[in-house]
Symmetry: C2
Subunit: 500 residues, 2 copies
């Protein structure tokens, strides 16, 4: 038994090495690569992807998994090895179902579609992207057809990002959430608006960078096992549990984004840094799902980083760093400004109160596309109608509407809802944390995050991919993902800020 298990670990370890090498190439592409390097880099990454796939779906791996599944039938389901075999077998089954020719075709279609999307967005002309999106959706349908029928065709897509999660579950969660968020936003819109002009003035990039670095150092992000660089689109990436990197960016018109982006990515990174090293090079390495990952990034960005106790500690230092920009600005005014709610056209700029509505709109449209109940040609209009309904605003053009996100351009469907689920999980964990750590606010008020991080390490991080997302949330909070805590969180926070 142990011999077969060791052999499996050896083989999957190599696959992991190749995938993580590909991550290094991707990081370099986004952070360092000179423009000339793009073509060869694409080729190199394609080759690594192909080899990782080939080495994963061999008959040998299949036989080992079959044998080990049998041998572990009666094992403690909580044992690491049993979990590793279960997750690896599921990944193997998925990978085996998708023919290599399909993967190759999808890559080619996606590359063309991405180019068309770039052009369409720059010209704000949906018709340029439309045939490519139709082709992408066709491929999505073909992808679904490789898998056994489930309750809903969208389940197959969702499962790739949130293992075990069903479309019906997500719909139910969002149905419980939508009316409450819409109502909250209406109430906010009718209240006295907050002032935030002092946030949109000139801030020194280097000083913002240093401030962010100082904060996440206090959070507990470990620099001996990570680094931060600049990139056009901020992201976190993992080369090993001891090399977890983040990026941030500077936006002249929205300088505070440098800080909050750093906080956000540090949340992803501390998750990865906290995974038990014994899972390295196995199917249990990495976070368990995108939603759980997003719960960590959102927690450090928002529940911690946009909270009043946090700024009670950090505002004096910020004011000292930017004396002219923040002259005469009180802690309360600053706190309100960074939490200003304003329905906006662009998802990535959305505040906490409106963000999820951007997601629900996209989820409904993705389900419509997959079900075939929404024609691609009608998407721009559907988008605009839903924006009016949920947020009360309508994009002036498709570039600021249906064309704004990159995801559909490369055929990624099923991803969006993880962002909103992450928000929900962050609040659900937060309620539990505040039960377990009674004086958490006081700790944050003095810049002490160690008990919070310790809690997350113990309850979430160290498990890696051992538990599926719903099981993990259940285990930790005694409930599956539910919208209640997030609604309570938003209502309390914004009632105070807007005097609702």
């Amino acid at each position: 038994m142990s011999e077969k298990l060791n052999k499996l670990k050896e083989l999957l370890g190599e696959v992991s090495d190749i995938n993580r090498a590909a991550s290094v190439l991707s990081w370099d592409q986004q952070v360092n690569m000179p423009p000339g390097g793009a073509e060869a880099r694409g080729q190199q990454m394609a080759t690594l992807g192909k080899i990782a796939q080939e080495k994963f779906i061999t008959d040998e791996v299949g036989r080992l998994l079959d044998d080990l599944k049998k041998e572990f039938t009666d094992a403690d389901p909580d044992s690491d090895d049993a979990a590793m075999i279960r997750v690896a077998a599921r990944n193997y089954d998925k990978a085996k179902r998708v023919p290599p020719e399909f993967v190759a075709e999808k890559a080619i279609v996606a590359t063309k579609a991405f180019g068309a999307w770039m052009e369409a967005r720059s010209k704000s002309d949906f018709s340029i992207f439309r045939p490519h999106l139709e082709k992408n959706v066709e491929l999505v349908e073909r992808y679904i057809s490789f898998f056994p029928a489930s309750d809903h065709p969208y389940d197959t897509l969702l499962d790739d990002y949130e293992p075990g999660m069903k479309t019906a579950e997500v719909k139910a969660i969002f149905d419980g959430l939508r009316p409450k968020q819409v109502k909250l936003i209406k109430a906010i819109r009718e209240s006295k608006q907050v002032k935030d002009d002092f946030l949109h003035t000139k801030y020194n990039e280097k000083k913002l960078w240093d401030f962010g670095v100082n904060v996440i150092t206090q959070y507990g992000y470990e620099w001996s096992r990570g680094r931060q660089d600049k990139a056009p689109h901020p992201f976190e990436t993992t080369f090993s549990v001891n090399d977890v990197r983040i990026t941030t960016r500077f936006e002249a018109e929205n300088p505070m984004a440098t800080l909050f982006s750093t906080f956000h990515e540090s949340g992803h990174a501390m998750y990865e840094q906290g995974i038990h090293p014994k899972y390295e090079r196995t199917a249990l390495s990495g976070g368990t799902s995108l939603a759980i990952h997003e719960s960590q990034s959102r927690m450090w960005e928002n529940l911690v980083g946009r909270s009043l106790p946090f700024w009670e500690h950090f505002f004096p230092a910020l004011k000292k760093t930017f004396p002219s920009q923040l002259e005469g600005v009180s802690l309360k005014s600053f706190y309100k400004a960074i939490n200003k709610v304003a329905p906006s056209l662009i998802r990535v700029n959305a505040d906490e109160a409106t963000y999820n509505l951007h997601i629900m709109l996209r989820l409904e449209m993705e389900i419509g596309m997959v079900e075939g109940t929404m024609a691609i040609k009608d998407l721009p209009e559907i988008w605009n109608t839903k924006m009016q309904e949920y947020l009360g605003i309508v994009p002036p053009n498709d570039a600021k509407g249906v064309l704004q996100d990159i995801h559909w351009s490369y055929g990624s469907v099923g991803y969006f809802s993880t962002y909103a689920l992450g928000n929900l999980v962050s609040a659900q964990l937060w309620e539990k944390i505040n039960k377990d750590i009674r004086n958490l606010d006081d700790q944050i008020r003095v810049g002490n995050f160690s008990e919070l991080l310790g809690w997350l390490r113990e309850k979430i991080h160290r498990h890696g991919h051992k538990y599926d997302p719903q099981d993990l949330v259940q285990k930790v909070t005694s409930s599956k993902i539910t919208p209640g805590p997030y609604v309570r969180y938003l209502t309390k926070k914004y009632s105070e800020i807007y005097g609702l």
Copy 2:
């Protein structure tokens, strides 16, 4: 035929992709990686190396090469395809001869030996390193045994770095060179010494960096296909013909090294940037040998970058950049200072006149080790005796003597002579270039390097690995590698500087 050729190119293209991915990982390791990342990175690079090897020495590649060699028997030997098949077949034959278990054993021994060398050097205690070096040399002998007997066992090692080059050839070249260099150094030592104290004062790192960047931009290094970073040991690395990167370093006690290191690495990089793109992902990509590579780096560092015409152009700008450091320093004094000859203990710090002697000493010792005529235990003493003989100085300890270089620590034997051969080739090419471009000095005097770079592109760079080093030098200069030009170059240069 074309089908088999295409298949071979496809298979070898993937091997090239993996090797270049490994180069990205190695670059990142030296430039960016946080300390925690080391262990996993080592594992990832080992896996990539193993897979590249596995994918290269398959029976399919072997059969394709056999078939194609037959089919190309009567092909124009100058055809790219014939050359590609010839070089790939040679590499394949070499790779097949070395058992994978040997490669694995060597890696383990080397890792341990490297650690021991680090400790031995820091304590200046050869006895710590000695058993590991003995083991390394045993493995070198075993490596040689995998290959057919040649005129000299050292030939096998040399061939890995300088394809086709024989030990007897290198010995003959060096025998012609040694007495002349020793004589020159003696004459210099007896002359009036040059003053260079103004070079060893405080220089601003950022300004040196910018100055170097400006120079190599004028050289013709293309930034859209490259970049420069800082690293503890400067190097050039190639991810594709369109992504060729360099590194440099800052040494407080020798600030000018930042400049000359940048010039040096840019020479390697312009070689790689100039290789014909059609050779990408084939056995003909990359420079043809280490000596030819070194001829390019040395040319831009020394024959161009330490020449009087060069500084006639750049010295006013340098003086403007460092007005206090260079106050009262004339162009001539500066030129003499950067060309100061001073026998020194450490190879990497050696000047043009003494550098090759450091190499000859090492070559003689490597040959002695391989022949078994020098016992490892005697190496420190042999080293010191030869230092006295060639350079007239004796190291005060082994750290500054036999333990100074990293090469032997990881079992690399056969490499050193390429440094000296590179110097010779640079001068040999330089004589030819100055026949073809009559007013080259005048061009350099006004900072115009385009005709020089054009010549190198045409004669050397674009060919990549198509011609073996001796054939290439013969083709371009109508002579194999010979010490004459380098001796003439040194004698002329130093006669002027030292008034010999």
